[in-house]
C-alpha cells in the first residue's frame, strides 16, 4: 500500500511528465553523457589503439604506482575508521562531538591544500624533512608523500560509513556477548565485526576508489615523472597536456571501469544489507 500512496494522483499528469522530463534531461546531459563520452572517445581510434594505449609501459607503471599507494592507504584508513567508529558509537566520553567533527575535516579541505600541508610539514626545506632527506628517505615528490596526502584526503570514508550503522546497532549485542563470557577481543571479532560487514565493505570500497582517483593532492606532492611517480590520474593529465587526447581517454576508461565497479558494489551491498536487515527484523 505504501507504494500506491506515494504515487497517488497529486500533481496533474502533465506536470509530472514535464518534471520528469526536465529532471531526466538534466541527468542525461550532466551525468550520463560524460560517462558515455569517455567510453566512446577511448575507443575513437578503434579497440586496437585502446589496447595499445592501455598496455604502454608508462600506463603499466601508473597502474603499479596507483595500486601501491592504495595498498598503503586503505589498510591504514580502515584501521583508523574501525577504531574511531568503535570509540564514538559504543562509548560516552567528553569531546565526542569534537572528534566526530574533526573526522569530517578533510572533506571540507581542498585537495590542493591537502597536498600542500604535507609539503609544509615534510618538504626538504623543513626541519623534519631535511632530517629525513639527510638519511636518504625521500618523502615529498616520492611515493611516501603521495601515500600521506591520499590518506589525508580519504581519511573520513571508512569512519563515516561505519558510524551511522554502528550507532543504529547500539551496544546490546556486545553486552550480550560479554555477559556470556566473551573477552573484549572476542566480542569485537565475533560480534561487532560481523554486524558491520556490509558497511565496512562499502566504506573500504569507497576509500579505495577515492584513493585511486585522487588527483589534486597527489598533484602537489608528486614529481610528475611519467613512467615513475605518476599515478593513473596524473598520467591522464600528462597525456592530455601532451595533446594525446585519445590515450588520455583510454587510460581514463580504466578509471571509469573502476568507478562503475564501485557503483555496482554499492548497489550490491545496499541490496544485501536490506536483506540482512529484513531477515533480522522478522
Amino acid at each position: 500500500m505504501r507504494g500506491a500512496v506515494n504515487e497517488r494522483r497529486t500533481e496533474p499528469p502533465w506536470v509530472r511528465r514535464a518534471l520528469t522530463t526536465v529532471a531526466l534531461a538534466f541527468f542525461v546531459l550532466l551525468l550520463a553523457m560524460p560517462l558515455i563520452f569517455v567510453v566512446w572517445s577511448s575507443l575513437a581510434r578503434g579497440a586496437a589503439a585502446w589496447a595499445a594505449a592501455v598496455s604502454r609501459p608508462d600506463t603499466a607503471s601508473a597502474i603499479r604506482q596507483t595500486l601501491t599507494v592504495v595498498a598503503w592507504v586503505v589498510p591504514l584508513n580502515t584501521l583508523f575508521g574501525v577504531l574511531a567508529a568503535y570509540a564514538i558509537t559504543k562509548f560516552q566520553f567528553r569531546g565526542k562531538a569534537v572528534l566526530t567533527a574533526l573526522i569530517d575535516l578533510p572533506f571540507a579541505i581542498s585537495p590542493v591544500i591537502a597536498g600542500s600541508i604535507f609539503v609544509f610539514l615534510l618538504g626538504k626545506f623543513t626541519p623534519l624533512g631535511g632530517w629525513l632527506e639527510s638519511h636518504g628517505i625521500k618523502v615529498i615528490f616520492s611515493t611516501p608523500g603521495m601515500v600521506l596526502a591520499t590518506t589525508f584526503v580519504t581519511f573520513p570514508f571508512v569512519a563515516r560509513e561505519l558510524i551511522p550503522t554502528m550507532q543504529a546497532q547500539g551496544i546490546e549485542d556486545e553486552l550480550a556477548a560479554r555477559s556470556l563470557g566473551a573477552s573484549g577481543w572476542q566480542s569485537f571479532w565475533r560480534v561487532t565485526v560481523p554486524n558491520i560487514r556490509w558497511s565496512l565493505l562499502f566504506g573500504v570500497v569507497l576509500c579505495a576508489a577515492r584513493a585511486m582517483g585522487e588527483f589534486g593532492a597527489v598533484s602537489v606532492v608528486s614529481a610528475h615523472v611519467s613512467g615513475e611517480t605518476n599515478t593513473l590520474p596524473l598520467q591522464v593529465e600528462a597525456l592530455y597536456s601532451g595533446l594525446d587526447v585519445t590515450s588520455a581517454f583510454a587510460v581514463s576508461s580504466l578509471l571509469v571501469l573502476m568507478a562503475l565497479l564501485t557503483l555496482a558494489v554499492k548497489a550490491g551491498v545496499e541490496w544485501r544489507y536490506r536483506r540482512q536487515e529484513a531477515r533480522e527484523r522478522a
Binding site: 506515494n6 504515487e7 497529486t10 529532471a23 531526466l24 538534466f26 541527468f27 546531459l29 550520463a32 560524460p34 563520452f37 569517455v38 572517445s41 584501521l79 583508523f80 574511531a84 568503535y86 559504543k90 562509548f91 572528534l99 573526522i103 575535516l105 572533506f107 571540507a108 579541505i109 581542498s110 585537495p111 590542493v112 591544500i113 597536498g115 600542500s116 600541508i117 604535507f118 609539503v119 610539514l121 589525508f152 551496544i171 553486552l175 573484549g184 566480542s187 569485537f188 569507497l206 576508489a209 582517483g213 585522487e214 589534486g216 598533484s219 602537489v220 590520474p233 596524473l234 591522464v236 593529465e237 592530455y240 587526447v245 581514463s252 578509471l255 573502476m258 568507478a259 557503483l263 548497489a267
Partner: protein
C-alpha cells in the same frame, strides 16, 4: 546516613563499570586521537607555521594582490552559484526519483553517485572535451555563441557535476520519510497543490536543502581536478584559488601558497559556521 553514601558513589561506579564491560575504549580512542593529530591536525597547523615564514607585510602583499583576490572571489561566487544550481536541480532529481515512476529508474538512481566515484581528473578532462569547441555539447553551444571552456560558466558546470550527488543523496531519505498523510490532511483542509508544497513540503525539507547546499558548496570551493581543465586558468578571468595555490607550490613560493591556503580555510570555516547556525535555527523552530 549510610544509604546516602552508597547512592552518591553508585552512579560513578556504574559508569566506570560500563566502560570496563565493553573494553577497548582506551585502545580505540587513543589510536584514533593520535592518528587524527598526526595526520590531520599537525599538517594543517603547518599552514599557519609556513605562512609565518613571511613577514607581515609580505603576507599582506599576497593577500591583497589583485590576482589572489580575484581568484578567491571567483572561487567563492562560482561555488555559491553552483551550489544554488546543484540544490535546485538536485532537489528536482530527488523528487522525481522518490515520487514518480519511469523506465530505468533504478539505473538513474545508481548513476547519481557517479561523480562521487569518478576520479576528478577524469571528470575534468571529459567535461572539458565535451564542452570544448569540438565536443558533443560544446559545438552546438559555440554555434549559439556560448563558450563554456575558459569561462566562469564552465567552472560552474564542472562544480555542479560534483555537487548534485550531495544534494540528491541528502534529500532522498527526507523525501522518502515524509508522511503522505500530512499532505492528505492539508488537502482535506482545503489547501491547493501549490499551497501544500509551500506550507508543508518546503518547511519539511528546508533543513535538508540547507545541508545539501552546504555540502555542494564546500566541495565545489576546494575542487581542483574537475575544474582545472575547464578553465584555461587565465589570471583574473578564470583562475580559481586552488590553481593559484598549486602554481605557487610548483614555483617553490611556499609561504605565499600557505597564505592563500589560510585565506581559503578561514573563509570556508566562517561560512560553514554561518550555515551550521542557520541549520540549528531551523531545527529549533521545528521542535
Amino acid at each position: 546516613m549510610r544509604p546516602e553514601v552508597t547512592t552518591a558513589v553508585q552512579p560513578l561506579a556504574v559508569k566506570k563499570q560500563r566502560r570496563r564491560v565493553l573494553g577497548g575504549l582506551g585502545l580505540s580512542l587513543g589510536y584514533s586521537v593520535s592518528w587524527l593529530s598526526l595526520l590531520v591536525l599537525l599538517p594543517l597547523s603547518m599552514v599557519f607555521v609556513t605562512m609565518a615564514g613571511l613577514p607581515l607585510d609580505g603576507i599582506w602583499k599576497v593577500v591583497a594582490s589583485r590576482q589572489v583576490l580575484s581568484a578567491v572571489r571567483l572561487s567563492f561566487w562560482t561555488a555559491a552559484a553552483s551550489g544554488v544550481v546543484s540544490t535546485v536541480s538536485g532537489a528536482l532529481l530527488a523528487w522525481v526519483l522518490v515520487r514518480y515512476r519511469f523506465p530505468l529508474k533504478r539505473l538513474v538512481d545508481a548513476l547519481v553517485d557517479l561523480p562521487f566515484a569518478l576520479p576528478t581528473a577524469v571528470a575534468g578532462v571529459t567535461l572539458s572535451v565535451l564542452a570544448g569547441p569540438s565536443g558533443w555539447i560544446g559545438k552546438p553551444l559555440a554555434a549559439a555563441g556560448v563558450a563554456l571552456v575558459n569561462a566562469p560558466a564552465g567552472i560552474i558546470v564542472a562544480m555542479v557535476f560534483i555537487g548534485v550527488p550531495f544534494v540528491v543523496r541528502t534529500l532522498q531519505p527526507v523525501l522518502q520519510d515524509l508522511e503522505p498523510e500530512t499532505e492528505d490532511a492539508a488537502e482535506s483542509l482545503g489547501a491547493g497543490r501549490v499551497q501544500v508544497i509551500r506550507r508543508i513540503l518546503l518547511p519539511a525539507t528546508g533543513p535538508a536543502l540547507v545541508t545539501g547546499f552546504t555540502l555542494a558548496f564546500s566541495r565545489a570551493l576546494g575542487e581542483y581536478g574537475s575544474v582545472v581543465f575547464m578553465t584555461g586558468n587565465l589570471p583574473f578571468r578564470t583562475e580559481i584559488a586552488p590553481v593559484i595555490i598549486k602554481a605557487k607550490m610548483d614555483n617553490g613560493a611556499y609561504a605565499g601558497a600557505a597564505t592563500v591556503a589560510a585565506m581559503m580555510l578561514l573563509a570556508a570555516f566562517l561560512l560553514l559556521v554561518a550555515l551550521s547556525g542557520l541549520q540549528n535555527w531551523q531545527r529549533r523552530r521545528t521542535e
